[in-house]
Amino acid sequence: MIKHFLRLEWKQYFRSSYWQTGLALKIVMIFFALYFLVSFLALGIGSFFIIKKLYPESDPLLVVNSYLVFAFLGDLVVRYLMQKLPIMNIKPLLIHPIRKKSIVHYVLTKSSFSFFNILPVFFYLPFSIVLIGQGYEVMGSLAWFFAMIFIVQTSNFINFLINKNQKAFYIIASVLLILVSTQYFGFFDIASYIGSVFNALYANPIYVVIPIITAVGMYYLNHKQLVTKVYLDDVVSAKTKEAKSADLSWADRLGSVAPFIKNDIRLIWRNKRPRTVFLMSFVFVLYALIFFTQEVYEQKMPWMLIFASVFVTGGFVLNFGQFIPAWDSAYYRMLMSQNIKYRLFLESKWHLMVVMTGALYILSIPYLYFGLDKFLMITAGAIFNIGFNSLFLLYAGSFNRKRIDLDKSAFANYQGTSATQFIVIIPILGLPMLLFALFNYFLGFNSGIIAIATVGIITIVFKNYFMNLIEKKYLRDKYAAIHAFSKKA
């Protein structure tokens, strides 16, 4: 049986639609995966020496131990948000003569090897090796390493037991929050207190059996629970959400674009990937904090601040705009067979981008705290986003030839991504940076801001002219787009 399962896993992995993407994309994906692994590896090897350098009088192992509790709780939070038991894969197995017990073993064992569990190994393993290399007890270091791995596995199975139970999640999240804040504000040194538990592991290697037993226990608890639940109307069901219809009649005032706007709002709100894009655009508002709080940029690279400023209000324009019209790819043929005006379809997307940029701009008002000049940068960025970027992305969209499945998660999802997405980045972020850099260098700060804003305003003024061009381009490429979108990845 195990042979069968392994073979299925192998094939599933190498035949997943990820590998059928273009070569360039494959290289980018491999690069990112390697980047993650190498960073963890470097961290694993390096942190011992970094800690030694920062706190010469303390023992690096003890320092790491004292922060482990935060790492594990944070891990649980991230898992809750992102990790799901791959249970849907087993549906085809249910009608064949395979015992439910072994199916559940398969799913659980498979989950043990998920990305969330492999990544920590790349930190703990090199760290333990460094420990041994630095003259720490071999048995103690090994016990510590295995304890870490089994605690990670325990988290893995605890996450599935919690199984998206909101209450449990809030408890974990608030415990983490309380621990972090008591530590941070110095009420109580919880870190070293809990850290001593992990120190004991190193001192008495035999204690490693505790995490091992817990992990195994959690595994069997999961198994016991799941075996009774492998039913189509239980865990092996695609959850169908109750359809909720919000009243969108206010959009009717917008006239002939209204039906399209309504559909686009539903598109964004009811599908995982565009919804994530929508919600993430609010997170991007905070993006400039990274840049505004560091003096380096102000003094040496002011054009980097423009980069950040465009992002503050541009999260939606950039992330939503670059996949127009692929968002509608699943039913593009249907759209094209209807009596609709292309112009309205495009106008609707444009309206959405403009309104969202405006909303994000209002949210960015607190940036005044960093000074009027920063806020002016953001303002220029917003004008540029509304004018140039929205229209440019609509135009660039006519080159999109990759289908998008709306229901897939947006994280690390490269579906729909092609060379277009990489090329468009150059003008939409590069142009304002270049403009600012040039004008700022020769004529001063204000002229840089004005230059960016002017480009934005010019494009807004001539919007109809550009829209006509864009519409023509879309009409010309209609058949190519229909053909490309009807091919599944």
Binding site: H4, K11, P92, L94, P97
Partner: protein
């Protein structure tokens, strides 16, 4: 022999199936008809232990399906395309299912050779994954896989849907042959009254989860069913 007793299935307060007693003797070709939501697929799902009954139980050759899994060895089934493994080629899928049902490579090849005509050259050796086949060809794969390893009970949900006319005729022939020597029980459901009446010697009509008719097929059956369902439109 498949024995159903007092089986019911409720989702919340809505009852989707309630059958007091239904006995399907070994070797019978049994058809289930009814409109959407009548409970056909629910009954098959219960019979295959894919969902749990609210009350009652089904025994497949004396094995209670929700208590033991030994019925899986002698039961072949296909519900819909979501039960295929999309990333396998048809050959790989057949060899996977064949392995599970104790067939060796030669057995599998011999078995598949019987279906060459049925596949019409569109399934085997096409270097395609199941997920990339058309709906009709996916269905063919699912149905043929359900017949592997000489199961004594075969359950097919809507086997005729999505198939081309030639394949429908061939499938009907296969199904009739299966029950000729009275060893294999065949259960199918269908929306298509003429297909079921042609293949099945007994037809049960479900309506809103209840058995409303239990007919031994005769020449008049098709007429009877047609008039039953057209009455439904008037009421």
């Amino acid at each position: 022999m498949i024995t159903t007793e007092n089986i019911s299935k409720k989702y919340g307060s809505a009852e989707v199936l309630n059958i007091e007693k239904l006995e399907i003797p070994t070797g019978q070709s049994f058809g289930l008809v009814g409109n959407n939501g009548a409970g056909k697929t629910t009954y098959f799902n219960l019979l295959l232990d894919l969902i749990r009954p609210t009350t009652g139980s089904i025994a497949n050759n004396d094995v209670k399906v929700d208590e033991s899994e030994s019925w899986k060895m002698f039961t072949g089934s296909f519900i819909d395309e979501s039960f295929l493994i999309g990333y396998l080629t048809p050959e790989e899928y057949f060899s996977f299912v064949g392995d599970l049902r104790g067939l060796n490579k030669a057995d599998i090849n011999q078995f598949l050779s019987r279906f060459e005509e049925f596949f019409n050259g569109e399934v085997l050796d096409r270097k395609k994954y199941l997920r990339d086949l058309s709906k009709g060809n996916q269905k063919k794969v699912g149905i043929v896989a359900a017949l592997m390893g000489n199961p004594s009970v075969i359950i097919l949900d809507e086997p005729f849907a999505n198939l081309d006319p030639t394949t429908q005729i061939r499938l009907k022939k296969f199904l009739k042959e299966l029950t000729t020597n009275r060893e294999v029980t065949v259960l199918i459901s269908s929306h298509d009254l003429s297909h079921v009446t042609e293949v099945c010697e007994r037809i049960v009509v479900l309506d809103k989860g209840k058995m409303v008719k239990d007919i031994q097929t005769s020449k008049e059956t098709l007429k009877e069913l047609e008039s039953y369902f057209s009455l439904q439109t008037e009421s």
